[in-house]
């Protein structure tokens, strides 16, 4: 065994630095591609002299972002609050529902099928109804739309994660005569975390979509979705695009936040994927 030890120890010690380096190396190609795409876009607009109302150049969008920074930031603030609200509501409801369903193992697959059918409904179509229920200027009318959209992937993924137990772990816990609660705490919950985070990643994207589209149907004038709809109606397309860029940045930031939480919650998962 000493031979194995001698070989594996230095290799393991170097692993930390290597993962940081490989994480950076992984980030480089998409960044390069993204930058190249922006350059190509800029060139296309200039060479073909595409009019701004069809497609403004990235430089023009950036310029608008700079001049209208106050307007866009205050709109983004309202939208961010709604997005986070929808994310929180949908995730918490989804996780709670997943726990309840996982207690009924036999009924679970039927319930999941029903939920999958329900999730096919275009939830954003409910936005005008929620405006009626909560009042268009009430943030809750937007949060409810996003919350429902987030609920489905979080609930379905987490339920599957909680129900999927490695047969070996099940047998081991049985041989130790562990209680159902111990199986839940020591095996099901940690085992379900990867699935939960997959659900949250889908949810993060959906939450932004849900809020922006719900805002199209009216509400506080000061919100990214409203800004996009209004400026487009007024043919102020540079402002429209600037607001779209801000909404995209919001979506990316939320996704990054989920990735960060995933790393904190599952340090083993990260280490595993690298090896």
């Amino acid at each position: 065994m000493t031979a194995t030890t001698a070989i594996s120890l230095p290799a393991l010690r170097g692993a930390g630095a290597a993962t940081t380096r490989s994480a950076l190396a992984q980030a480089v190609p998409p960044l390069v591609v993204g930058a190249l795409a922006l350059v190509a876009w800029e060139a296309l607009v200039r060479v073909l002299s595409i009019p701004a109302f069809l497609l403004p150049a990235p430089s023009a969008i950036v310029a608008t972002l700079v001049t209208d920074v106050g307007l866009i930031l205050s709109a983004a603030q309202v939208t961010t609050a709604a997005v986070l609200g929808g994310m929180a509501l949908g995730s918490i409801a989804g996780i709670v529902a997943a726990f309840v369903v996982s207690l009924f193992e036999r009924a679970a697959s039927t319930i999941l099928v029903l939920v999958a059918i329900l999730s096919c409904a275009p939830v954003v179509a409910l936005a005008p109804i929620f405006n009626q229920w909560f009042g268009a200027s009430n943030l809750m009318s937007k949060i409810a739309v996003a919350g429902i959209m987030v609920f489905f992937p979080v609930m379905v993924n987490t339920t599957r994660g909680l129900l999927r137990v490695d047969p070996l772990h099940r047998e081991l816990m049985l041989s130790l005569s562990a209680s159902p609660l111990q199986l839940m705490l020591f095996v099901r919950i940690p085992g379900a975390l990867p699935a939960l985070f997959d659900g949250l990643k889908i949810g993060a994207t959906l939450s932004v979509i849900g809020i922006i589209v719900a805002e199209y149907f009216g509400g506080t004038a000061n919100a990214l979705g409203v800004l996009i709809a209004n400026t487009a109606a007024l043919s102020q397309f540079e402002q429209t695009w600037a607001a779209v860029a801000a909404a995209s940045a919001l979506g990316l930031a939320l996704y990054a936040l989920v990735l960060l939480l995933e790393r904190v919650a599952m340090p083993w998962h990260h280490a595993m994927n690298r090896t």
Binding site: S8, L168, S175, S177, F186, V187, P190, W268, H269
Partner: protein
């Protein structure tokens, strides 16, 4: 449990650690009932190392699981230290090791070993102390804080053995624990396992495919025949209690191995003739 030699020096009597009386197991499958075990009667002495060997389909893994109360027998009685197998499992008499280590990725090596103690409600400090003791026993002290995936297959299997031994179970049930390892690691692990067995005095029931492994490790080898699973022969291995690499090349060892091999071959010939 053990009566000391009588003053007449006549054969000593010991109450068996594990006693099976007329144990049968029938699995109902889509293609009809399968007789996995048929009328198994067997006594296992406390502190013995018993290997179950036989062609695939002879029910050796099923027998191990019936002893461990992971599968209910269709007929017959299993007693472990005078109690039912179910009572023995509830009393935490069993440590189990499977072909796959089945470690939990979300726990460090030490916390994997602590799992059975945690299930039993042992306090944190005591858990930690015992786990460290076990790490020493399997010679993995330096790997306390590693993740299972950072370890080689052989090292993972030693962690699984340490986990099974952490609460000093009276019976160690092992289902081809070295089957997934390469030849070199396997022989090394056999020596380690013998050392652990001799140090702890646990009763071991060991499922294996390997004649040499069964001979080298065991006090008793149970040769089983397939369809339905029956005990073909119960062989006593006549080798000194202390065994090392010298043992593997001794005349006595070769004679014992030949005995096991001959028994297994007659079972194979018979099942081939029946087929």
């Amino acid at each position: 449990m053990t009566t000391s030699p009588t003053d007449t020096g006549v054969a000593t009597t010991t109450a068996p650690a594990i006693s099976l009386r007329g144990v049968s197991k029938v699995f109902s499958t889509s293609s009809g009932p399968v007789h996995a075990l048929d009328d198994i009667t067997l006594d296992i002495e406390p502190g013995s190392f018993v290997s179950l060997i036989g062609p695939s389909g002879c029910g050796k893994s099923t027998l191990l699981r019936v002893i461990g109360d992971l599968i209910d027998p269709s007929e017959g009685v299993v007693e472990v230290h005078g109690r039912s197998a179910a009572a023995a499992r509830k009393a935490r008499d069993y440590g189990m090791v499977f072909q796959q280590a089945g470690l939990m990725d979300w726990r460090t090596v030490r916390r994997n070993i602590e799992l059975p103690l945690q299930v039993q409600g042992v306090g944190r400090d005591e858990r930690r102390a015992k786990a460290r003791q076990m790490l020493k026993l399997v010679k993995l002290e330096q790997f306390e804080h590693h993740r299972p995936r950072q370890l080689s297959g052989g090292m993972q299997q030693r962690v699984a053995i340490a986990r099974a031994l952490s609460f000093q179970p009276r019976v160690l049930l092992m289902d081809e624990p070295l089957g997934a390892l390469d030849e070199m690691t396997r022989e090394h692990m056999q020596r380690e396992l013998l050392g652990i067995y001799q140090a702890t005095g646990t009763t071991v029931v060991f499922v294996t495919h390997s004649v040499s492994e069964a001979t080298f490790l065991s006090t008793d080898v149970i040769v089983m025949s397939p369809r339905p699973g029956r005990i073909a022969e119960h062989l006593k291995i006549d080798l000194p209690a202390y065994r090392n690499d010298e043992t593997r090349i001794s005349e006595q060892y070769f004679a014992e191995e030949a005995k096991v091999r001959a028994s297994l071959h007659s079972v194979l010939d018979e099942s081939r003739r029946a087929a």
